[in-house]
């Protein structure tokens, strides 16, 4: 059956998953939206970050995913135009900040070049970059680089113009009021509204997730909320 599924996905034009990760990502209910319920590695994922607050939320969310991807001892590269990332804050999400290489490049063209070069290098766990705009050509180049090496790429795009891209998925993360089961006072567990706007070979959805004990969970009150289909992607 699994073989048949793979056959079908290949016929649908989807590349077989390159990397093999021990166990699933600790993404909780979101895992169901992925093809074969496995987060696609060796692909480019696109994250829409239009404001400073969403940038922080998205950074945290990606950091949490990186924590899982870097379990195999591979380093990651984070390319950003500004030096705003705060390494001690990354340790909250269960990864060692000293295994991330921060590359600070100003020009958009240079960021693209650096990202492509890094993606071609086998042995990296992931490459994250913050790009103002991501058009089809750039995303195609990144995708081609990734297909050979099997590195996973994340692009945080800050421009509002949504061009069609060759990325395997498109996400939007925004902050949600912090949550705790027992309604403790103060700022409690970080919580996000996660929107998966596009997932090739998978389904889209919308979830509310919180970060607890080194993994994503759905808040109890929202656990009944059903992931709504936003847009059908062929």
């Amino acid at each position: 059956m699994a073989q048949l599924r793979q056959e079908i996905s290949r016929m649908q034009g989807q590349k077989p998953i390159n990397g093999q990760l021990e166990g699933k990502l600790r993404l909780g209910p979101v895992n169901n939206a992925f093809p074969q319920k496995i987060f696609p590695l060796g692909a480019i994922h696109e994250w829409i970050t239009t404001s400073g607050a969403t940038a922080a939320a998205t950074t945290g969310f990606i950091a949490a995913i990186l924590g899982d991807l870097m379990r195999d001892n591979g380093p990651s590269v984070w390319i950003s135009p500004d030096g705003l990332l705060f390494p001690p804050g990354f340790s909250t999400f269960g990864l060692q900040p000293d295994r991330i290489l921060f590359v600070q490049v100003k020009k958009e063209k240079d960021i693209c070049w650096a990202m492509e070069t890094c993606l071609q290098m086998e042995g990296l766990s992931a490459v994250v970059s913050e790009l103002p705009a991501l058009d089809f050509n750039i995303s195609r180049r990144l995708q081609l680089a990734v297909e050979k090496s099997g590195v996973t790429g994340f692009v945080m795009r800050t421009n509002r113009n949504l061009h069609p891209t060759a990325c395997v998925s498109r996400w939007r993360i925004s902050a949600a009021p912090s949550y705790h089961e027992q309604s403790l006072p103060g700022v409690t567990l970080p919580c996000w509204n996660v929107e998966l706007l596009k997932m090739r070979g998978g389904s889209t959805g919308r979830w509310k997730l919180l970060w607890q004990d080194g993994g994503f969970q759905e808040p109890v009150v929202d656990r009944v909320a059903n992931p709504s289909l936003l847009r059908k992607i062929s």
Binding site: G60, F86, P87, G89, P97, F102, G123, S178, G186
Partner: protein, 499 residues
């Protein structure tokens, strides 16, 4: 191998330099002069004027009275030294070890170099020709000691003199005592006593000479004869790891440069491999036929002795070279080398920071986009947020302490930005704050966490940090600077964003 030193003496250094820059002065009498105690004094004289008996140190007004058409060029102090340094750098194409003899000469350590020119005469002839092309008259001498070469270059009969090893004493004999680099007072005294040439007193015992002329004279004699060692102070430290490649024909094409680069790197890497070292920093130098020296530099993150990788790093920068009429010589130097930790082949595919390929990737990034763009951070034992992490010195360095387990934002502003805040009473979190014109109403808050400015590093007021969450769930890190004091307005800042 016996030491060989070349001294180059420029009799008209400054005037020839001026002539090179100002063609209109050709055939005209001119002097260089600088202001000294309220009047213009001559600092250099062109050969024409010198022949008429005018010397350095005379007042310009006196000379002008006799030569009305005299041109005066302003001189700046230190210009000769600057010029000699530039010439010295250029002269590294003849030997890696060059020193300046300010104000009018250069000294080259030619030990083991001359055979490349097929003999010392050819070597000197080549230097003389190259300098003549630049418009400089030179007197050059090669000898076994710096002192003898200096004396022969300045006081010898021929513009080119070659003194065979051990012949120094005979060659120095007929020269005047001033050729021994003596103080003026000593020279005067020797003159008065009728010791007109070095030969007159060189065989007297050093005890006799020391008693009558001070310790300087016997020391200079010993230095000139090689009895006493005279160290040469090179302008730049000679790198032990370097390779040179002279070209038969000037190289103008990129292909040619790449071939030279490849050849040099392979030579150097072969040598490094033998000694178990790897390059951390390398300089590729190219001498152009119009006496211009160009260099490109690369750095690596881990010591490397792989020609392919090093060539790739240099290739990103070859565009910076301007061949114009062509390069006549190339050299590669490795000023920074480190021991290579030999890895088993299996480690090549190992994941992690020690991976060689990762270091190569980083070299590529810094090679193209400039140094200092790749950062790796380690925790540091400070609570003050800006100091709580530090840059790692290398890819291998392991954290000496744990990363903090306190709640910290994921994005931190480089400089805290002031915000307008309405806070009820001291030590309560604010009710709302305004940042970039947007009002954020605070729904939840944590804090305060007081962080002291570490006075032993820098004096300053402490900060009371609050984690606050607005109505949309966006989380911020705010702080109030210093104690709450009823008399002055309290200052609030936004410092970071939580995920």
């Amino acid at each position: 191998m016996p030491s060989r030193f070349v001294c180059i003496y420029f009799p008209h250094l400054m005037t020839e330099w001026v002539m090179r820059r100002r063609q209109d002065l050709k055939g005209q009498p001119f002097v260089l002069a600088a202001l000294d105690r309220g009047r213009m004094r001559i600092t250099a004289v062109c050969p024409d004027v010198q022949r008429q008996g005018f010397r350095v140190g005379m007042a310009v007004a006196d000379v002008r009275a006799l030569i009305p058409q005299l041109q005066v060029v302003a001189d700046l102090p230190g210009r000769a030294a600057k010029l000699l340094t530039a010439l010295g750098h250029w002269a590294t194409r003849f030997t890696p070890c060059v020193a300046t003899h300010i104000p009018d000469g250069l000294c080259l350590d030619a030990t083991g170099c001359t055979h490349l020119w097929k003999g010392e005469t050819n070597y000197l002839e080549d230097i003389r020709k190259a300098l003549a092309l630049l418009g400089y008259t030179t007197h050059i001498a090669i000898a076994g000691t710096v002192g003898a070469a200096w004396a022969l270059a300045r006081y010898g009969k021929h513009p080119l003199s070659v003194i065979a090893p051990g012949e120094e004493k005979r060659a120095l004999g007929p020269l005047p005592p001033a050729a021994l680099r003596l103080e003026a007072a000593v020279v005067d005294r020797l003159q008065k006593l009728g010791l007109y040439t070095i030969g007159h007193f060189i065989d007297m015992g050093s005890a006799i000479l020391r008693r009558r002329f001070g310790a300087g004279l016997p020391e200079r004699i010993d230095q000139a004869l090689g009895i006493k060692n005279e160290p040469l102070l090179p302008m730049q430290a000679v790198t032990p790891f370097q390779e040179r490649l002279p070209c038969l024909e000037p190289v103008t094409t990129r292909y040619g440069i790449e071939m030279a680069l490849q050849q040099l790197i392979e030579l150097l890497c072969k040598r490094l491999a033998k000694e178990g070292k790897g390059i951390r920093k390398a300089i590729f130098k190219a001498w152009r036929i119009d006496h211009n020296l160009q260099a490109i530099t690369i750095g690596t993150h881990l010591p490397s002795q792989q020609p392919a990788h090093l060539v790739k790093l240099f290739e990103l920068k070859i565009d910076q070279l301007e061949p114009a009429l062509g390069f006549e010589m190339f050299a590669i130097e490795a000023p920074q080398v480190e021991d290579i930790i030999t890895l088993q082949n299996g480690f090549w595919h190992q994941k992690g920071l020690g991976n060689n390929r990762l270091a190569q990737l980083l070299d590529q990034l810094t090679g193209k986009l400039g140094p200092g763009i790749v950062h790796r951070y380690l925790p540091d034992e400070h609570y003050w947020p800006e100091r709580s992490f530090r840059e790692a010195a290398s890819l291998h360095e392991q954290p000496a302490t744990r990363w903090t387990d306190r709640p910290r934002p994921i994005r931190l502003l480089n400089n805290p930005e002031p915000v307008q805040v309405a806070a009820p009473i001291p030590d309560y979190p604010p009710m709302h704050f305004r940042y970039k014109g947007i009002l954020h109403t605070i729904k939840k808050a944590d804090g305060p966490e007081r962080i002291e400015a570490e006075w032993w590093i820098r004096e300053g007021e402490h900060r009371d940090y609050y984690i606050v969450e607005n109505e949309h769930g966006e989380r911020f890190w705010l702080f109030r600077l210093g104690h709450y004091d009823g008399t002055k307005p309290h200052r609030w800042y936004l410092h970071g964003f939580f995920a």
